[in-house]
Symmetry: none
Subunit: 200 residues, 4 copies
DNA sequence: CATGAATGAGGATTCATTCAT
DNA sequence: AATGAATGAATCCTCATTCAT
């Protein structure tokens, strides 16, 4: 019992150290040695908990993935079938922003890791596809319910996921919209819903 | 004279070898040794032409950057101030698609490298910002000319650049829309211009 | 505890191996690879203990430096202020000879390294200056006490340190005076004290 | 004829470049590449004139060796058998100082190279022994002529050559006695001739 | 004679991994 | 469970040397 707790503590030390190092040097430039040094544990200890740097990254990402996934499904169910579609969307977005806010560091790592490293691609691709599928389902429901016009919802899911990723990156990685990010949510929704062209 | 030609050939051999290796293993997992092996040149020869893997990547990226930049400015000037705004946009997009088509390999590398490796970030960020600025200028002109409604053109430039990047990735990296990519152009323009909501 | 002992043993193995290689090939021609090979340890092990060949040499030299320094100060204090100045000097010299005798190998390395390699110069210069200063102080005391005539004691310290270094080199490096080195001590003192000219 | 002159010029360029690099980085740290770069010649050209860095050093040293040797023999013959022994010695020393003065750079290289690098030792040892033999012969003549008391002239030659080398080093390498070196000559002779002890 | 591109051996350094304590 | 010394493969990089022009 005591030993298990101890083990858990050590594991957490490794994860925290890794989080810092990843954020600093980027995933692909961090070695096991780096993590070990930052964690102030012994080299051998690392291997009692993980077998590679990738595994550590995975462990970190899983955390966020699950959190996001939980929020997403929960909120979708709750809000999107309501009459006030846009309001629901807005609520969903803001809820996700909270998750990102709280996990800034890992989200940053995720953003710089997605699509890049082949070793890790499988994990992130799975997540990306999950996101895109979620978005697409939303749109399909919108179309089915007659609220949205007919359009290629798959294509749209790419546009939206990519667009949001970029905005997220600007916020998390480059500090843009520092305190005003929430205010942008409705503007984004407006753009995707009604476009930017003036009605003739 | 002959010697210079020989040097140029060797340089190209390195670049081609690197292109293949990058595409296969990803930038951050390729060592100088990998490139040398693929190029079938001597280890020392590499250093006569480049000093690091990053420099090789840069050389490859510069090529595409310049090509894109050339197309972008040229076409913007030609077409965007005309009456037929959407038609101009469509032409621009299709012209860029050609560039991407012809440089599939490098564009793929660019897509998986952007935002990821800190060593290379400077190059790609510069390019990304150039793209976003170009997009933004387009929208600002649209607003000024009264064709577009007033909106946050900076935010929009992130949404569009990210969205297009994602679509591009789906096409180049995962083979989606293999032969139908051109047909999607107008649909994308439609979405950004008029949104997806049904006019009540 | 045991592990620390093991580490110490390994370190000593490296030092001993280095000592042999330095003696054989000279400092500036020995590579880390050479030392590793001679020590029969793994390449990586070297870096757990030292970071460069210079550091190894330093470790070796420090040993002798300290030993000499200890002898020098101890003996100076004990003997040089006595009435029998020359006898004291003679004792000091013979005591140093013992140190050199016991550390022949390292002293040899020191002799061939002093003044030569810029990378190592700082260490040896420091030592050389310490020696010269010690010698000079001796002479200054001799002058002050009226036992010696007035002369440029700094210049003299160069003459003596250089002269003794050369004799030492002849002994250690080229095997001259193999067993008769002690007998030369008094002759050297005689020369420096009274010169070689016949009193007219 | 023209080609020979051209060849000679190139050779000199190499020697001059080498002189500078040796002085800056020390002999054992300079590579052929270094010399080639400094000389602004092509890599291959080097091999038309020399086959190794050692050969270049030798060529440089030979120059000084011969100059010194010439001065030494010439002056010995002229002056040392005269009545005024010390005056002759003084003249000899000052003449050598001129040689050193004019070849400061190479003499500096010689001083930091002597005894150190095994690759070059043969050359410098030969020279050192020549010097010591010259000195010894002088003393032997002095003894034979009754001007000097009987002493171990070999030992003395080591003391003197080493002492002078050290003073020379202080002058050339560390800039001591910058303009007063000539004035020290007679003081040195005085020390070796009459010692430093006060006559009781 | 001079050039400089290409070579590949060899040395420096890092890294993941093992294992005795 | 935790430690950290040791390992050797893999990488990076430099250097002397060759050779076609």
């Amino acid at each position: 019992m005591l030993q298990e707790k101890r083990k858990e503590i050590t594991r957490t030390k490794i994860l925290n150290a890794a989080k810092k190092v990843f954020a600093q040097k980027g995933f692909s430039n961090t070695s096991i040695a780096d993590i070990v040094k930052k964690s102030r544990l012994a080299r051998g200890t690392f291997y009692l908990h993980f077998q590679s740097v990738e595994q550590v990254l995975n462990a970190l990402l899983q955390e966020v993935f699950m959190e996001i996934q939980r929020n997403l499904t929960e909120l979708q169910v709750e809000s999107l079938d309501q009459k006030h579609f846009k309001i629901g969307l807005s609520a969903l977005a803001k809820s996700l922003l909270n998750v990102f806010q709280e996990r800034k560091e890992i989200v940053g790592i995720l953003l710089t890791t997605m699509n890049s490293d082949t070793k890790i691609r499988m994990q992130t691709i799975w997540f990306q596809e999950f996101l895109q599928a979620s978005i697409r389902v939303m749109f399909d429901r919108g179309i089915a319910s007659g609220r949205l016009r007919k359009f290629d919802s798959e294509l749209m899911s790419y546009l939206v996921s990519g667009g949001l990723r970029e905005v997220l990156g600007q916020w998390i990685l480059y500090g843009r919209y520092k305190d005003s990010i929430e205010q942008k949510v409705d503007e984004v929704i407006g753009i995707y819903m009604n476009g930017v062209e003036l009605n003739a």
